[in-house]
């Protein structure tokens, strides 16, 4: 393509990378306090933060790949330190996403059964505890790359303490991991196939819900349509997993592609749109809309925004190949 954007990935990574590290700590604190105070609002807030942080961890992760490619070979930047950080990121990323998925499941249970199940609460607690630890290490190993002033052992910054050496056993070596993720043609084909089925699940369920709010098939009451949301969330889970698996196999290809970043931006806006929809009273209003009734203007605006943004996500996904190399 004849247009190119310049992105300073190191800067973008610095901007984003505090979100998963600090965000998980804040959410975990709220989650723990909610036990003692038996405070449901606090617990819901913590789950919302976990979900939001899980979403923002995706661009954080990808900006790190971009920064790594740009910094490789520069004087004063140790490849071994970057590799250790990357290994740490590869591990903590998946724990963050699982925590986010569990948090969303908990939020759904709050909505349907007025409280999350015991199993969900235990799972969130367990996974978020691990995630906080792994993210702290991820932040630490990342900080080590450019901050010799914080090295404990000035001669051998790679030396690990007792906990570090234990965690390191579980961290993949990036080269090996990425090579394992450089999928064969058939594995990629299979993941891409699942990605399309996930897409159809999201479009079918979210699309029908949004169209009804906008006034299509008005004889449908709104509340039952919302019962399809777990299917949409299943589609989202499939697509985040398959999308990220393919992306990790070729990080340098995807990180320097404008379509990928715009797609992530659209997904982030969808997250924001969901926050507006569920947390500002729009949803509780629209839930009461019976057959034949008109939804409020604010509901229509968020429904329209959701439709447009999902349309953009599909459009941008389809242009990834075309816009390859549009970022330097």
């Amino acid at each position: 393509m004849d247009f190119q954007f310049e992105v300073n990935f190191a800067h973008l990574h610095l901007l984003l990378n505090h979100v998963p590290v600090i965000g998980t700590i804040i959410a975990l604190c709220l989650f723990l306090i909610s036990f003692f105070g038996k405070n449901d609002d606090l617990r819901r807030s913590s789950l919302i933060i976990f979900a939001g942080v899980a979403l923002l961890t995706i661009p954080t992760f990808l900006s790190g790949f971009g920064a790594r490619v740009n910094l490789t070979g520069q004087p004063g930047v140790s490849d071994a330190l970057m590799e250790r950080h990357e290994g740490s990121a590869l591990l903590s990323f998946w724990f963050m996403e699982i925590t986010g998925a569990l948090a969303i499941a908990g939020l759904w249970q709050f909505h349907r059964y007025s409280r999350p199940s015991r199993g969900n609460v235990i799972a969130v607690l367990l996974f978020s505890l691990i995630t906080v630890g792994l993210m702290a290490r991820c932040g630490n190993t990342g900080g080590d790359i450019r901050h010799p002033e914080v090295w404990v052992n000035k001669q051998a910054p790679l030396q690990e303490g007792p906990i570090g050496s234990l965690v390191r056993v579980f961290e993949p070596t990036p080269r090996k991991f990425i090579n394992a993720m450089v999928l064969t043609k058939w594995e990629t084909a299979f993941l891409m196939d699942l990605h399309f089925i996930g897409l159809a699940l999201i479009v079918g369920t979210v699309g029908a819900f949004n169209l009804r709010i906008l006034g299509f098939a008005k004889q449908l009451p709104v509340a039952p349509l919302h019962k399809f949301m777990p299917w949409a969330l299943a589609g989202l889970g499939i697509n985040v997993t398959t999308g990220m698996m393919v992306l990790i196999g070729m990080p340098a290809y995807y990180a320097f592609d404008a379509a990928v970043w715009l797609k992530l931006a659209a997904l982030t806006l969808l997250g924001l749109n969901a926050v507006v929809f569920y947390l500002t009273g729009v949803f509780s209003g629209v839930e009461q809309v019976k057959a034949g009734e008109e939804a409020s203007m604010s509901a229509k605006l968020t429904a329209g925004a959701s439709l447009c943004l999902w349309f953009a996500v599909i459009l941008l996904g389809r242009y990834i190949q075309k816009l390859d190399g549009t970022i330097k």
Partner: protein, 170 residues
């Protein structure tokens, strides 16, 4: 088997070359995008209606769902139109791949079952809930299997072709 010559002639036509080679954003990837939107409308809608028939959201009334078939058929036409352009761009790639014919057959079967659902389950506004479920449950399950198979076959076309263009093995 020898690859028929007319495929090369078609590939050398102005339209085919343009779709394949243009730098414009409205070339090959645009048709691919439209094809994808068509898929989303068809398969998304049938998943939605199919899940309802299979027991999700039992308090959702059936009759108004009929309107969604309009979206589904619009999606089908978008797919057919954009698919034609994709075929013009890479006729050898598609027509020398047996999976392409499997996909067309799966789509045809999917369309047939979907029509059956529309004509039986949604024929009459007054049909009772139980009658609709009795008519539609098996059809819904079948249609989901067939449509997912059709998506998979289509998706796999990008990985299974023997020739990318005439005379060039892929």
């Amino acid at each position: 088997m020898e690859v028929p010559k007319f495929l090369e002639t078609l590939e050398e036509s102005g339209l085919s070359v343009w779709i394949r080679e243009t730098e414009s954003l409205f070339g090959f990837y645009f048709f691919l995008f439209l094809h994808n939107i068509g898929l989303a409308l068809v398969v998304g809608t049938i998943l939605f209606i199919g899940l309802r028939l299979l027991g999700v959201a039992p308090d959702l009334p059936f009759a108004p769902l009929k309107k969604f078939f309009k979206i589904l058929w619009t999606g089908l036409w978008i797919s057919v139109a954009s698919g034609t352009f994709l075929l013009i761009a890479y006729p050898t790639k598609a027509l020398t791949n047996p999976l392409f014919y499997v996909k067309l057959m799966l789509v045809a079967t999917g369309v047939w079952i979907t029509r059956k659902i529309e004509r039986s389950v949604f024929a009459d506004e007054g049909t009772s809930e139980e009658a609709r479920l009795a008519l539609g449950k098996t059809l819904a399950a079948r249609s989901l299997v067939v449509w997912i198979a059709a998506v998979s076959a289509g998706r796999l076309l990008a990985y299974t072709f023997r020739y990318l263009v005439y005379g060039r093995q892929g």
